[in-house]
């Protein structure tokens, strides 16, 4: 099954260990991950279900293109990294 790994920066706010979850798209995989860890959802997605502006998701090393729909495909052995963009301050 695809594996979802969350940025360690999230650990400061809430627990989010890596998960192995089913799904053929980024949306499906994240929905399954949020089903078992619902608090994480609002940190990664906005209220309309789009990826937050300063978050990125990599599927096997490639940044996803469909940041609103999260329709990018995921293979059964994919690794999905949920990361934060770098910023100043």
């Amino acid at each position: 099954m695809p594996q979802v790994i969350f940025t360690s920066a999230l650990e400061r706010h809430l627990s989010c260990p890596p998960q192995e979850v089913a799904g053929g798209t980024v949306r499906e995989v994240l929905n399954h991950a949020f089903a078992t860890n619902p608090g994480v959802r609002a940190y990664v997605l906005d209220e309309q279900g789009a990826l937050r502006k300063h978050m990125t998701v990599f599927v096997d090393g490639e940044a996803v293109r469909d940041r609103d729909g999260l329709s990018d495909g995921v293979k059964p052995d994919s690794q999905i990294y949920v990361m934060q963009a770098l910023s100043g301050g």
């Binding site: 920066a9 999230l10 400061r12 706010h13 608090g39 609002a42 940190y43 990664v44 906005d46 209220e47 309309q48 789009a50 937050r52 300063h54 978050m55 934060q84 963009a85 910023s87 301050g89």
Partner: protein, 373 residues
């Protein structure tokens, strides 16, 4: 009615929430929370519960609450905008599509100003007002204000989107609520939010073409404050001046001949004496630093006819502190005021501003200062 002075001060900064307490030896930082996280607003409700709005750059806005004075915190819900219907093309007057997404929590106020309840109002960017009746466990967007066609004429002042930064609930009638918007003027509801009307008559906008200078919908009140025991007396520090109302915002009068500068963000009014108010001026708006590098506060005791320049204890050379709109507060006694700056300096007075004491010069940039009751 006289109140005892507050001995507890909450300071929300770009890098955490600081609690100061007054001991026999003076004020000191007694507690910290959320170190490293931006706190856009801190609010203490009528029951003494503390709400802190975190403005996490990557992870969005979050709302936390403490029911034990700030020792432990629980996550509450952040206001969430509803889904934008596909047939709605929500664009501002510049043609820019307005996001139906929370950008920042910018105001929190008790739904009832005189008794402790679980009701809250929350002002946000991009211009939505939210209501909670369960202590922030859930929120609902106030549609009557959001659906006003005039909202498309609002615009951001310093931010990309307009924002509600001031919410005043009338202590005589909780169904009467005033909100102030940068930039969207002042609005009132008399019926708990079912209908809204503009209340910025008399305000003047220098940044607009002359024919629109008095357009109520484009005014930029930086902050609006009301005298607690004389709630028809309101003060606004506006983008290009100071305005006052003595009739519950039915009309506004511009204050003339303000020493130093009429530009600034913050305002405070005495809880019992509506003619006494404080401001912290800065060079207008291209520079936003104290005039001549001298940090001062202004105090009027006669409704704005005259002002005193208060500088005792404040730096009088090479001071570049700017005081943001939520970073000046007055306690219930009316004797104690505190303000904090963009450069992390914090001052307090216990004599209505006659003299000020520096509490720190090394805090992170300060966004909001609030006395506990």
């Amino acid at each position: 009615m006289s109140h005892s002075p507050s001995s507890r001060l909450f300071v929300a900064t770009r890098k955490g929430l600081f609690t100061l307490e007054r001991a026999a030896a003076g004020w000191r930082i007694a507690q910290t929370a959320f170190l490293g996280d931006p706190i856009s607003i801190v609010h203490i409700d009528g029951a003494g519960r503390i709400y802190a709005a975190l403005d996490l750059g990557h992870f969005g806005s979050k709302l936390k609450r403490s029911i034990d004075g700030g020792t432990t915190w629980e996550e509450r819900a952040a206001p969430a905008y509803p889904e934008k219907p596909e047939e709605v093309d929500d664009r501002d007057d510049n043609g820019t599509s307005i996001p139906w997404k929370l950008q920042k929590i910018w105001a929190l106020a008790d739904g009832n100003a005189t008794e402790a309840t679980d009701s809250l109002w929350c002002g946000t960017l991009p211009g939505g007002l939210f209501r909670s009746d369960d202590g922030g466990a859930s929120w609902e967007l106030n549609r009557p204000l959001w659906d006003k066609p005039e909202r498309k004429g609002w615009f951001g002042g310093g931010y990309d989107w307009p924002g509600i930064h001031s919410v005043f609930v009338d202590p005589r009638n909780a169904d009467r609520v005033l909100v102030a918007i940068s930039c969207g003027g002042v609005w009132v509801t008399e019926n708990g939010g079912s209908t809204w009307s503009p209340r910025a008559e008399g305000m003047r906008a220098e940044y607009m073409p002359p024919e629109r200078a008095y357009d109520q919908n484009v005014q930029d009140p930086h902050i609006m404050v009301a005298s607690r025991e004389n709630p028809d007396a309101l003060w606004v520090q506006h983008h290009n001046g100071i305005f006052r109302s003595t009739d519950g915002a039915a009309s506004w009068q511009e204050i003339k001949d303000i020493p130093r500068s009429g530009f600034g963000f913050a305002a405070a009014v005495h809880p019992q004496d509506p003619d006494t108010a404080w401001f912290v001026p800065a060079i207008k708006d291209e520079k936003r630093i104290p005039v001549d590098g001298q940090l001062v506060a202004l105090r009027t005791r006669d409704g704005g006819a005259t002002f005193e320049v208060l500088d005792q204890g404040l730096p009088q050379e090479n001071a570049y502190d700017l005081i943001y709109r939520h970073s000046l507060d007055i306690d219930a006694s009316g004797d104690r005021l505190a303000f904090g700056s963009t450069t992390g300096s914090l001052w307090i007075t216990e004599d209505q501003g006659d003299s000020w004491t520096s509490l720190s010069a090394h805090l992170p940039p300060i966004y909001c200062v609030r006395f506990a009751a």
